[in-house]
Amino acid sequence: MAKRSAPEVNAGSMADIAFLLLIFFLVTTTIEKDSGINRKLPPIEETEEDVVIKQKNIFTVLLNGKDQLLVEEELMELKDLRAAAVEFLDNNGNQSCTYCNGAKDPSSSDNPDKAIISLKNERETSYAAYISVQNELVAAYNVLRNKRALVLGSQEGFLDMNFVQMQKNYKDARFVGNKTKLKEIIDQIKIEYPQKLSEVQ
């Protein structure tokens, strides 16, 4: 028998395949963005007028050097912080807030606009614990804002969309819908539940 030499494989189409793959990955790749908790530091003011804030409107959270959490002078577990903060913010002590569902306890905060969360830490506090607490406090605001967004959104035609989704949609270029209306709702919710979180040095 004659030995046939192996037929030459045509490598000409290899380039096409290569481009196909290249273009596919080019289109689908997303470069990972950093994410984190945004904060605004208070400016240093020379002439500081002491603004009198009623003690009942301040929710003090102290994180000590051993990462123990002291909320309103009482020891608390991290997992209970969110609920406690929500209760404080949504309390509506002077009944001026028409959209709150709080306990209306006169000894707690007057309304969400006046309620301030003050977060103190010590030098020895670990950063991980600090971030966890920040996260829980931001979550508390988000819980209330989400609840409000579901109510307001359904009135304006944005059904089943909570505050976090609204913000996401607002930034999303592919979102089909009335963005100016959405922005109005987002701004309104931000005014109704302002994020007043002070970080004390």
Binding site: A11, S35, G36, I37, N135
Partner: protein, 159 residues
């Protein structure tokens, strides 16, 4: 005349190059998967804590990074306490202000108010150094900050 021609055994047969693209692709994919994009080479430990109430850091606005953490292996001579890293080198607290000024100088004027400072802090660092840096940032009026974190359950940070 024989039917069976004797093969002329002259010259080396050409090597098929058809498999060359495969090899190149293998390399391409390997590096594609293994590449991590990073602006600075870190001289410190930088395991970020995780949180779930995060917002994306908007790259449309200018971002400056400040890293903090313990010096990593190979840099033990800088001590075991948490240190600040700016760009590619260790820095003192007093250099933070100058760093922000330099970052601002490199920006177009209209973007300066939108400069965000991203704090990339190791989760084992303590708040002392972070508080000091925050104070320095207040002094130079760089008030927009972002605690950069990973995404995950915040309860897992502490253990």
């Amino acid at each position: 005349m024989s039917k069976f021609k004797k093969k002329t055994d002259g010259g080396i047969p050409a090597i098929s190059t058809a498999s060359l693209p495969d090899i190149v692709f293998m390399l391409l994919f390997f590096f594609m998967v293994a590449t991590v994009m990073r602006e600075n080479s870190l001289k410190i430990k930088n395991a970020l804590p995780v949180a779930n109430q995060v917002e994306k850091l908007d790259k449309k606005n200018p971002v400056s990074y400040i890293y903090m953490g313990k010096p990593s292996t190979g840099y033990e001579k800088f001590g075991t306490e948490s240190r600040i890293q700016l760009n590619d080198q260790f820095a003192e607290l007093s250099e933070v202000g100058a760093f922000i000024s330099a970052e601002r100088a490199a920006l177009r004027e209209e973007l300066i108010p939108f400069l965000t400072v991203a704090l990339k802090v190791d989760k084992e660092a303590n708040m002392g150094i972070v508080g000091d840096v925050k104070q320095e940032l207040r002094k130079v009026n760089a008030l927009k900050i972002n605690y950069t974190t990973g995404v995950g359950d915040a309860m897992t940070n502490m253990n």
